[in-house]
């Protein structure tokens, strides 16, 4: 910005600043003050919104989780009692929350693994295709990605419909029997999750595929070619040359997938209304939702637990992003 250097440099005792240097120092200080005022001025609307809509409820939720706050207190205007960790203890000893948590984590692992493996495979496939085929695949992936989760679940729910579903009809035709007539896919929890996994993986692959494909474009072709001339097999080329280039992208994608798959709500909720048994198929989000409005203290404890869990899991994303981005 300014042509004169502001800070005095060099070893030895700092010489007394000359008049122009003093001026420069003063200008610099002035500029900093102006920057601070301007910066925070521009940030203030965002800061206010985030403080009121995220900070305040977060603090409120933590406080509520230590109380027996219910809808009764709200109606009567009475203050709830402080009950310490009782909500948390009840959550892990007296409710089916541990089962829901285990289920959510298991589902998350399956979803994340499938989405990443298939996503990377599709990305590699796209690098090997001709232009026309690549555009075709890209358009297909974009369409799947663009479907709103709820409409996607409605359509898939119909494809797996008990009476008129495409899948039952197809299985009947393929096996030449009527074994699959009126087969319910959503009644059994495992089968319910099978359908759920198909829906989520179908929508999840495009993001991973496009991101990985962009990363693959940065692998230098000459290095690959040299390795290929030296006799490295395709798998070894991928492991030792391509993978190091993809590592940081895949780390971020992995963390995002873990978080998104743990937060999943719409698809589960919608499939449950199509015929799943909610008590046997709840994940964290739907479990919390189905607690209903009323037991504010108890639900706050669930919320606090979820936030802490997701913040721990997303720490890798925050750190990688901060490290890689020059701030």
């Amino acid at each position: 910005m300014t042509s004169t250097t502001a800070a005095p440099t060099g070893a030895g005792p700092a010489p007394a600043p000359t008049a122009p240097e003093r001026d420069a120092l003063q200008r610099e200080r002035h500029r900093r003050r102006r920057d601070a005022r301007g910066g925070w001025g521009l940030l203030s609307p965002a800061t206010i919104i985030l403080a009121v809509m995220v900070g305040y409820p977060a603090v409120l939720m933590v406080i509520q989780s230590f109380t027996d706050f219910t809808v009764k207190n709200k109606v009567q205007g009475t203050l709830p009692d402080f009950i310490g960790l009782q909500n948390y203890i009840d959550l892990f000893t007296k409710s089916d929350f541990p089962a829901v948590l285990t289920r959510s984590l298991a589902l998350m692992v399956v979803l994340t693994a499938l989405i990443i493996v298939f996503g990377v495979l599709v990305a590699v496939l796209m690098t090997r295709l001709g232009r026309g085929w690549r555009i075709t695949v890209s358009v297909g992936l974009l369409l799947a990605w663009a479907m709103p989760p709820l409409t996607a679940t409605v359509v898939w729910g119909w494809i797996f419909d008990t009476q008129y579903g495409l899948v039952n009809w197809l299985l009947n035709t393929l096996t030449g029997t009527t074994n699959w007539t009126n087969h319910s896919w959503l009644l059994e929890p495992l089968s319910f999750y099978f359908v759920l996994v198909i829906i989520v993986v179908w929508q999840g692959i495009p993001f991973v595929a496009f991101t990985t494909y962009a990363g693959l474009g940065q692998v230098p072709g000459e290095v690959l070619e040299a390795a290929s001339l030296d006799g490295a097999s395709g798998l070894r080329r991928f492991r030792f040359i391509v993978f190091p280039y993809l590592r940081s992208i895949l780390t971020v994608v992995l963390v995002l997938q873990i978080i998104w798959n743990l937060r999943i709500f719409t698809q589960v909720y919608s499939l449950q209304t199509r015929g799943g048994i909610a008590a046997d198929t709840n994940v964290l989000g739907t479990y919390l939702f189905r607690q209903g409005v009323g037991e504010f203290g108890a639900t706050a404890a669930i919320g606090v637990f979820m936030v802490i869990l997701l913040l721990i899991l997303s720490w890798g994303y925050v750190r990688t992003t901060l490290k890689e981005e020059e701030l």
Binding site: L129, I249, L322
Partner: protein, 318 residues
């Protein structure tokens, strides 16, 4: 600092166009293979591409297909892969019939959704734009702290706080109002929007502004005349992101809105489990789904892969 923009364009190209070095490399590597094997490889790759394409597109196609099929043909033991008796009556049914007695119909839900979405879009873009300029163009104490908090807030699941937010909105007497829902959405979208826009602002070199200032512009003139026009693509794609988020949101809408004020997603949810006039009209449900999905798909095709750029900007070295 140009990572953001370069990733954006890169992903844009990754979506549909060709990159230069890759076909060349492929050719030279394939050249050493025997022709028969090369043909087989090519065939298998194209077959895999076809499978990926069909699997991706089929559900979307099937939805549109059912939307144009009369309901009595949908409720059939032998499903058809294309509309045998083409009809648009499903669309009129979806448009006219309320989800349940006392609940909203499609046009009103559409109006509600468009109002909320437009409000969220305008406020979010304005607030996030100011914030991103501050983060990209000013150096001040607390800047890094703010960036870290934005990243952390982006990771806090809003659904986890659903009942606390419910209580808060209730205390403010904003339950079942567009304003209440709009505020919740705005707060949910802002962190990502700030993060993405910051990258776009930082991607426009400050030298350009300085050059304009040497030519006699004031600092703010330089910003509005030089930098701002270059930010248009960034504003468009972040705006579309905010639009899609607000349009697709389901959880909080389900919790906060009811009756006549339902937005489109809870409307669809109510519509697919309602049996006004007998059984569920699946043709109309699919027609409704199609109408809801259409704007999102169109906007998605416009921004293509650019949204991934914001999420992985830190990980892709430009």
């Amino acid at each position: 600092m140009s990572t953001q923009v370069s990733v954006g364009t890169q992903l844009g190209t990754a979506g549909v166009e060709d990159t230069l070095d890759r076909p060349a490399r492929r050719r030279s590597m394939d050249a050493r293979r025997p022709p028969a094997r090369k043909k087989l490889t090519r065939f298998l790759l194209n077959a895999a591409a076809l499978i990926v394409f069909v699997c991706s597109v089929f559900p979307v196609y099937y939805m549109v297909n059912l939307a144009f099929t009369p309901n009595n043909k949908i409720v059939s033991r032998t499903p058809s892969l294309f509309p045998t008796d083409f009809t648009v009556s499903n669309f009129t049914t979806a448009w006219n019939r309320e989800a349940a007695p006392g609940q909203t119909d499609f046009p009103h839900a559409l109006g509600t959704t468009v109002t909320v979405t437009a409000g969220v879009l305008v406020v979010t873009l304005l607030v996030a734009f100011l914030a991103s300029v501050a983060l990209a163009r000013f150096r001040f104490k607390g800047r890094r702290t703010f960036i870290v908090s934005v990243l952390v807030v982006q990771m806090i699941p809003g659904e986890a706080m659903m009942f606390t937010i419910y209580g808060m909105i209730d205390d403010w007497h904003l339950m079942n109002t567009l304003l209440g829902l709009g505020i919740v959405y705005t707060a949910a979208v802002i962190p990502f929007t700030i993060w993405t826009l910051r990258g776009f602002v930082a991607g426009v070199p400050a030298d350009l502004e300085e050059a304009a200032m040497i030519d006699g512009c004031t600092k703010s003139q330089a910003f509005w005349k030089v930098t701002f026009p270059l930010l248009a693509p960034g504003l468009v794609s972040t705006g579309i992101f905010a639009f899609i988020q607000a349009w697709n949101e389901f959880t909080m809408a389900l919790l906060l809105m009811s009756g006549y004020n339902l937005t489109l997603m809870p409307w669809l949810n109510a519509f697919q489990s309602s049996s006004v006039g007998g059984a569920v009209n699946w043709g109309a449900v699919m027609a409704g789904s199609t109408m809801i999905a259409l704007p999102v798909i169109i906007f998605f095709l416009i921004v293509q892969g650019r949204m991934t750029g914001g999420l992985v900007s830190g990980a892709v070295k430009g």
